[in-house]
Amino acid sequence: MINNASDLGAVPLALLADTNCEDLEKAVATNVLGPFRLTKALLGALSASVREGRAALVINISSDAAVTPYPKWGAYGASKAALRHLTEIWNQELSVEGVRFLSFDPGDMDTPMHALAVPDADRTTLKTAEAAARELITAIETALTGPHSSK
């Protein structure tokens, strides 16, 4: 399961002090609660796969904003930080079940979301979504064959 859908929260990006409460809630709802609800709903199916001898992996799309406190990226950054933290805890809690959780940071991609966040970015410096997807596939293959890890 890949939890990819994300929300910036405030658009245009704003200082936390200028961020509407509702925009922070929106970022938390999509970036934290969404993956949380889906994981609960699908955990039975994921663990059944493991019991039947197949691998099960949950990938939560992350960001360097989850780690580095960039000004004006507060709503997005805080919600992604929460998701990253949940991912690590889920991974530990469910290691005995064999369901693995992974955070994946695709880097800065040339997407409509990036354009909303940084309208004047030099698009030539941005990764294509296809390139990020290929890196994600490599990360999945590594996770399926490598030692148990959440990164």
């Binding site: 039975g44 199916a45 019991r51 039947e52």
Partner: protein
């Protein structure tokens, strides 16, 4: 018994009544369930997720309102569009099932419209309220329609409309159950992970749990309807290994008992999909399941009859008395029982042999006329 009326699956006040093989009864808080799991135990649960199988709609030929409750399918194939269903007249779950008005006269060919879903009655199933219908939709449209318009089947003892998450067990996977396999409400992920630490195993099957009530006494007598189930290879192997080393098999819920006792042939569980057609009752000689974790059931229900495969009638009467005396709650959100097949029941089950002191007395397959091996349609599932 007192009806549990709130959709709380794991109340900290939930109780479990334990009947051990000697017939001795004790009571525990159900959050302490892990204390009852011994090293080597194999706990088998039903991982079916509950379909929102109640569909309000209109019977187009008469233009009258109906409620359709999907009740069965011929197989677990997700492409299947044929369902058996029980049809009610107008109204909803707030009215007791037996007091619901009858549907209009139903006939083969009748069109039904339920929100975005349209279906045709293929034919009646020997009862004016039991139909075989076919949806006029692609698989994706059908499931989107069920997700948007369907509601969980529920009964008048729970006044609040149930959300789908109220009726999924924490381990729920494939959406094939028409009502929740509610014994699984006692499970938490904490309990499941603790089982391994306790040296026990946790495996699952998938069984299309059906309706518990139709509102019509004649139709109720036919419950449970035929229910498809699937035993994964890993589960079959674990059960066969556990049985051959004398370990205890604990079934979480009556659907697991039904599936496993149907899937066994000459002492071994077969992996794959099949259709459970027999009822578990007083005549059943259990071959697989040693103990059952289930809800509390009233006399007169098919679940109660199933307990007669585990306990003598005297023991069952004692259990019922204790449940009432201790004010146990019943129905899907109620308290639980963990019932072992007792020595007394085993003694009662021993075939009365016509040829005393003969080898024939020791071979149950010769004198046990009640167990039917699974039908020839058994398939191995590719994993």
């Amino acid at each position: 018994m007192i009806a549990a009326t709130a959709p709380v699956q794991r109340s900290p006040r939930a109780k479990v009544m334990v009947v051990d093989p000697s017939g001795q009864i004790r009571h525990l808080p159900r959050p302490a369930l892990i204390e009852l799991i011994q090293p080597g135990d194999l706990v088998v649960a039903n991982d079916a997720a509950t379909i929102p199988a109640s569909l309000s709609g209109v019977h187009l030929p008469s233009d009258r309102p109906i409620e359709v409750r999907l009740a069965g399918v011929p197989s677990l194939d997700p492409h299947n569009r044929e369902f058996s269903a029980v049809v009610f007249g107008e109204g909803d779950f707030h009215t007791r099932t037996e007091d619901r008005p009858r549907p209009p006269s139903l006939a083969a060919g009748d069109q039904l419209q339920m929100g975005p879903l349209s279906a045709k009655i293929l034919h009646l199933l020997d009862h004016p309220r039991l139909i075989l219908l076919e949806f006029d939709h692609s698989r994706d449209e059908l499931w989107a329609g069920l997700a948007h318009h369907g509601r969980p089947i529920q009964y008048s003892h729970v006044p609040v409309p149930l959300a789908l998450w109220d009726v999924w067990t924490p381990i729920a996977g494939p959406p094939v159950a028409f009502e929740p396999p509610s014994a699984g409400f006692a499970l938490s992920w904490q309990l499941v992970t603790e089982m391994r630490v306790a040296g026990a195993q946790f495996k699952t099957i998938t069984h299309a749990a059906g309706l518990s009530s139709t509102g019509d006494p004649e139709l109720d007598k036919r419950l449970p309807f035929d229910e498809p189930y699937r035993v994964p290879r890993a589960t079959a192997d674990a059960i066969n290994q556990a049985k051959s080393s004398g370990k205890r098999i604990i079934a979480v819920g009556t659907t697991v008992v039904r599936a496993l006792e149907h899937a066994v042939h000459e002492g071994k569980i077969a992996a794959g999909e099949n259709l459970a057609t027999e009822r578990i009752d007083v005549r059943t000689r259990l071959q697989v399941v040693d103990a059952l974790l289930s809800g509390t059931h009233e006399p007169g229900t098919s679940h109660y009859e199933l307990l007669r495969a585990f306990l003598t009638d005297a023991e069952l009467e004692q259990l019922t008395t204790e449940l009432n005396m201790r004010e146990y709650h019943t129905h899907e959100f109620g308290d639980s029982v963990l019932v072992s097949r007792t020595f007394n029941k085993l003694a009662e089950d021993k075939p009365r042999c016509q040829i005393p002191m003969s080898e024939l007395c020791e071979q149950p397959s010769l004198v046990d006329l009640n167990h039917q091996p699974p039908g020839p349609e058994l398939e191995q599932v590719k994993i």
